[in-house]
């Protein structure tokens, strides 16, 4: 057990290191100059003042140092918990900007991932034993899971937002509101939350339902099912066993899908101008905000790694076979 988790932690550590390094590299190899864009925003006419400001900003962000020095400084301040200062929202620290956005992203992601997983598995198992359902509804599942997140998001925004006018299509709450703990505000929050949530939920739901349907059909052909049936065990017991065994690959699937779902959430947020991390990434790119981009990516990497680790632990708990196979490949 200890060896297994030791190995897992080593792999996660390595992944973290590589991912953070890439996060650091990406903004620096993007075309454009963040200091230049800050200067043009400042709108200063005198060339001497511009030069002075340029020197000041460059030194402040450390762009005058050689790249390797910048890289080491980056790790140094990262370990101290300092993510730098946002260029876009200068002089707000990046961590503050991210912490403001995180609740919105988590509020979208966690319900859509868990609910789609739960409902998709239930529905898939249910459809697997009804021919008419299998023939009529599952093709819809295939279409759903093949739909790109942002395309479904645009479709939903157009149909339910613009045409039907039932749901708002932008923002996390009404533009005329200030965040507060009133029913009005919460209602508006829920209303704005629904469409981005639905587009994430539907795409993932289709995928889980199809996966589960296939797994159940496979499990119902398994030897242990044939044996139970030969001993006259009722379908109720057989289905319970089949469901429980079919869910195992779906747990692995959840770990694999997590990254895709996060990416989906990011583009969905952009479609709905939802003020989460995806929205931040877009702004950071548009404003050449190295530090914000790094910080947001870092946060996503940590989130995905933690979620994967939790799933690893859960898998060990639900499948006895992994417990005995722990000496093997991790």
């Amino acid at each position: 057990m200890r060896r297994y988790f030791g190995r897992k932690l080593l792999i996660y550590g390595l992944t973290f290191f590589v991912a953070v390094t890439i996060n650091w590299m990406i903004p620096r190899f993007m075309p454009g100059d963040p200091v230049q864009s800050m200067l043009s925003r400042a709108n200063v006419a005198q060339p001497a003042a511009v030069e002075a400001m340029r020197a000041h900003y460059t030194a402040m962000f450390g762009f005058d140092l050689p790249l390797w020095q910048q890289y080491l400084n980056f790790w140094g301040s990262l370990l101290k918990g300092d993510l730098g200062i946002s260029i876009w929202l200068f002089p707000t620290p990046v961590s503050d900007v991210i912490i403001r956005a995180v609740p919105y992203t988590l509020g979208l992601l966690i319900p859509s991932i868990l609910l789609s997983w739960f409902a998709g598995n239930r529905f898939g198992a249910f459809a697997a034993r009804r021919k008419w359902l299998d023939n009529s509804v599952l093709p819809v599942g295939y279409v759903l899971t093949a739909t790109p997140y942002m395309w479904l998001a645009i479709l939903l925004a157009w149909a339910l937002g613009i045409l039907a006018g039932v749901f708002p299509v932008a923002g996390a709450y009404g533009f005329d509101m200030q965040p507060s703990l009133s029913w009005d505000f919460l209602g508006s929050l829920a209303q704005h939350w629904f469409l981005p949530f639905a587009s994430l939920f539907l795409v993932a739901f289709g995928g889980w339902a199809i996966g589960m349907r296939n797994m159940i059909i496979y499990e119902l052909e398994a030897d242990y099912v044939n044996y139970l049936r030969a001993l006259g065990a009722p379908m109720r017991l057989v289905r319970r066993y089949a469901f429980r065994n079919a869910i195992l690959p779906q747990v692995t699937g959840l770990a694999l899908q997590l990254g895709v779902l996060v990416a989906g959430a990011l583009v969905t947020e952009i479609v709905f101008s939802y003020p989460g991390l995806g929205h931040l990434i877009l702004q950071a790119i548009q404003n050449q905000d190295f530090f914000l981009l790094q910080g947001t990516f870092l946060f996503i990497v940590i989130g995905v790694l933690i979620a994967n680790f939790i799933i690893d632990i859960a898998y060990v708990l639900v499948d006895p076979r992994t417990r005995t196979g722990m000496g093997g490949a991790a």
Binding site: N226, Y227, L231, G232, R321
Partner: protein, 314 residues
Amino acid sequence: MALNVTDLRVYYRTLRGEVKALDGVTFSVADGEIMGLAGESGSGKSTLAKSLIRLDGRMRHVGGTVELDGRTMPLSDDIGMDRFRFREVSLIPQYSMSALNPTRKIGKMVGELLDSRGERPDRAELERRLELVGLSKDVLDRYPIELSGGMKQRVVMVVSTLLNPSLLIADEVTSALDVSSQKAVATTLLGFRDRGLVTSMMVVTHDISLVYQIADTIMVMYAGRLAEKAPADVLVTAPRHPYTKQLISALPEVGVRYEDRRLTGIPGNPPSLLKPPGGCRFRERCPLAFDQCAEQPPFAEVAPGHFVACWKAE
């Protein structure tokens, strides 16, 4: 009479038509009898074994009746058959190694199975039976993955016989085992009968020399029909059907040096059961075939307890 099978026909549905895997078999198994059922692949022996407990999706009960202890079994009624399964007729499957749910502890699985059949799990009896096959009660707290193949097989043997069935079907139970385990399994089966845990037994195998050690009678099938049924030693020492004769002569014998004399096989192949030829199905490969073989010979009793389907069996 424990088991009476009359003119049983079970066909497989395929895209190219019906495969007549079991085409009119009539026989009976007495109380306390261990019957070996032998034949090559595709002879219909596994189909017969499955038919008596659970038809799979492609199998169709076309005709004939099966009576167990005087009650007719509704073969094609999957729900009606549940009354017989486990209590009256039980199965040790070919796939014993994978017959247990991999994610349930064995004791828990057995408890849930008994519960679902409305039986009260009797832990002490279960432990006693495990002891009988040489397993400690610890296996009940293990997952199947933690057991060796032989242990899993013994667990399955215990589970299958837990409700003292009237008929136990052992389907190719020794095929995947090494010789010493084969011997142990055969002895265990014999012990089940001798202790009265099961009344009669049908041991399906392609290994006549193994079944000969435990069976009272042996029945040989060929191409979906019965060829011969006789007391075990009679069938092995004095077979009457030409197919059985050739089958027995193809077995190696103790004391014979096969450097000098090559073992012979039976030339030719069994016929396709999609459109089987009329008359005796062994005709094509039979050295004794003559004109009358175009007509199907009856499965007739030529001596007490010795049935042969051959015109030249007298």
